[in-house]
Amino acid sequence: MALTDVELVEQALAGAQSAYTELARRYAGPAVNLAARMVRDRALAEDLAQDAFVRAFARLASFDRQHKFSSWFFRVLHNVAVDHLRRKRVKTSSLDEMESAGTPLTPVARELGPDMRAEQAALGLALEDALARLRPEYREVVVLRYQQDLPVQEIAEIMDIPPGTVKTYLFRARKELSAILGPQGWGESSASGVETPSETNP
């Protein structure tokens, strides 16, 4: 029977290297995924995720067993990623700012053809591209809510913001994503086989 996170923490604090490794293995995927969505750079995401693990392991004794380890660890990762974004002073733009600045929201090219797997992959790419255009905090709540399946309260604790703000972020993120993907034709009758012409992204 697999050990719980708390049991692994206890073993790690007792000096068991294997416990550290197992914790890293369990949360490697979610950590890299969340970091990658926030910083939009896969290699950088792995570095930040490693930093988060090292920091978390160094402070393992301060983990409160009354809470979930995943929440505590995501909080550490959130702080690491936010620190990085602040240092780099990454400018994020809303859709309105991009449009007013003359940045066209050109649609991503879709591969049309009989290969349904490629077409589905294209939808995934379009969704990822749209996600990358959101603000980091919007991306973070979307990933934590819809990919990590965390409740709003837990997301609020991780990001240290009120639950109402989390809901607002989720609402706005969804609206912005639909505003990006709608003009690309993804929401139209593609499934019925009617091909919608789209511009090729330069």
Binding site: A24, A49, H67, W72, D149, L181, G187, S190
Partner: protein
């Protein structure tokens, strides 16, 4: 297109269409459900194969560095405390010797003065003032004051060093806490 591919395609595009239709119509609950299905199907960014090993390697090295720093800090704190103790013994020893000789001198002078003035009418407050002044002068010599100040400074330094060690071992619990 076989049935499985048809279902896969229909699922993804159906969810996307249903989501955006619901957004446009203001049907928030339906939009949320369709968007949830769509996002949950989005493949996550996977870590590289060497990621876990790299994390374990870095964590192990960071742990070793921390333990070395803690050992050095403990050694420094022990040496500082030992130095303070030796200094205290020397200083207090000197001060104690000075106090003893001062007390002996005071006693002998006091007895002589008392005998000399016993017959001339003693004012008790005058007597108390003279005794207090004599005791103070014998204790608060420059050497004693210097010794006391030095001991205090060394003690403060030792306590600060010990606090740093303890804070490091306590792993700064105020910074990451839910």
């Amino acid at each position: 297109m076989d049935q499985r591919q048809h279902q896969a395609r229909s699922g993804a595009f159906h969810d996307a269409r249903e989501w955006m239709d619901a957004e446009q119509e203001g049907r928030e609950d339906l939009a949320e459900l369709a968007f949830t299905r769509l996002m949950s199907a989005l493949p996550p960014v996977e870590p590289s194969e060497a990621f876990v090993a790299a994390v374990a390697h870095r964590a192990m090295h960071a742990h070793a560095r921390t333990r070395r720093a803690q050992r050095l800090a403990r050694m420094a704190a022990v040496m500082l405390v030992a130095g303070v103790s030796v200094a205290a013994i020397v200083a207090l020893g000197s001060a104690a010797a000075a106090a003893l000789s001062g007390a002996a001198s005071l006693l002998s002078d006091g007895v002589v003065w008392l005998v000399r003035t016993a017959g001339g009418g003693i004012k008790w407050w005058s007597l108390a003032a003279r005794v207090g002044g004599a005791v103070g002068a014998s204790i608060l010599t420059p050497t004693t004051v210097t010794a006391i100040v030095t001991i205090e400074l060394l003690g403060i330094s030792a306590i600060y060093a010990l606090q740093r060690v303890l804070r490091h071992e306590g792993l700064d619990s105020q910074q990451v806490h839910i």
